[in-house]
Amino acid sequence: MSGADPFAVELERFQGPLDLLLHLIRKQDIDIFDIPIATVTRQFLDAVERMQRLELDRAGEFLELAATLVRIKAQMLFPGPVEHEADDPRAELVRRLLEYEHFREAARVLERAERERARHSARGYTPPRPALRAAVAPLHTEWDEVEQALASLAARLSEPEPEYRVRTPEVRVEEKIELILAALADRRRVEFSALVSPWGTRMHAVTSLLACLELAKRHLVRVRQSAPFAALWVMRPAPERP
């Protein structure tokens, strides 16, 4: 049923939300510096809703931009005193669209180069090469160098012991981000302490918290705490409807 929907094919074709938005703008010959935001927002949300109905996995990727469009639409409805072009609530969106289109064009250039290169074939059979063998070159080392090495070793040994530093293994925020997203893959929410408890060190707690904040900033999770010191919940973002 949904597989037969011609829109499914069309929606799968888009590389992401910016690609879809550019398509809407270009198809209707809209001036990118004066986007009719209400119309475009409605069209965009229609497309996203269709994606959700078709259960395309990627619908989630489009929600962040949908939210941005809705916010811009609201700002346009209640305009403050507009004196500079930069005050236009659409300015950042336009910048992102032009930037994205630039790289989409660059991708086409790469595609052409790839196609051109694929018309050339390299030698198909290259004989197995022997493992690189070391050819011993004649040694040019003078006794002076041995003595200098000894002097520098002695100097190093007479220096006071360097302060001994404890090296803690590095914990990366990127890794924590992946752990959190993995934890949220099969449930709607997870308690923060459950993310930290397997390791229990302060470093892991801090990194996990940074990862949560980063994800929240990217609107990939929501963080909720009902009261100070209450359990901290990390949740999947709800698909928001305008």
Binding site: G16, F103, L110, E111, E114, A118, G124, E174
Partner: protein, 184 residues
């Protein structure tokens, strides 16, 4: 054809990747990079004169023997001739961002494309088209990606300078916008 030319031809013929003039100069003590380039110009000249099916191409900072493009349709008919898998649009877009912005972190790539970049970056790394080239400042010291020599080989570029410059790319919307601003 002299012995040096024959030696360089043999090494080019036996290699499965481009070789730089410096590497090729290892064939003989008397050779320097300029000498290698003169020998290669001689080979190219001879291959063209004799109508050989292959030529020496300059790719990824080196030289490689490749078939001439007009034989592509013939070669397609033989399944013992390896074909390179084309990249998806997502991979090409990501690669374009990395190529022009390198070194660049995953967050910036995702910001530009508006979608997650994890699996595409893995594909590109697995195919050795990009690699981690450092770590950025800021939160979590993110991994920074750049293109590899294999990237140049895949697209047949001599160097990164072969990437079309920004002003050589036609961007419909941006052009139109510039035109309108001029007019207004």
């Amino acid at each position: 054809m002299n012995l040096l030319e024959r030696g360089i031809e043999a090494v080019l013929f036996a290699s499965d990747a481009p070789l730089s003039a410096g590497e090729l100069a290892r064939i003989d003590e008397s050779l320097d990079e300029d000498g290698v380039e003169r020998v290669i110009a001689g080979l190219q000249d001879e291959y063209r004169r004799r109508g050989r099916a292959f030529d020496v191409y300059e790719i990824a900072g080196g030289f490689q023997l490749l078939t001439r493009p007009e034989f592509a349709p013939v070669l397609e008919r033989f399944d013992t001739i390896p074909v390179t898998n084309r990249l998806s649009s997502a991979a090409l877009e990501t690669l374009a961002i990395i190529a022009y912005r390198q070194p660049v972190g995953r967050a910036e790539i995702e910001q530009v494309r508006g979608v997650g970049a994890g699996s595409v970056l893995k594909t590109l790394s697995d195919r050795e088209l990009v690699d981690v080239v450092g770590r950025g400042e800021g939160l979590g010291r993110p991994l920074l990606y750049g293109t590899t020599p294999r990237f140049l080989e895949h697209f047949g570029f001599r160097s990164l300078a072969d990437l079309p410059r920004n002003d050589e790319m036609t961007v419909v919307l941006a052009e139109r916008a510039a035109g309108e601003q001029d007019g207004g």
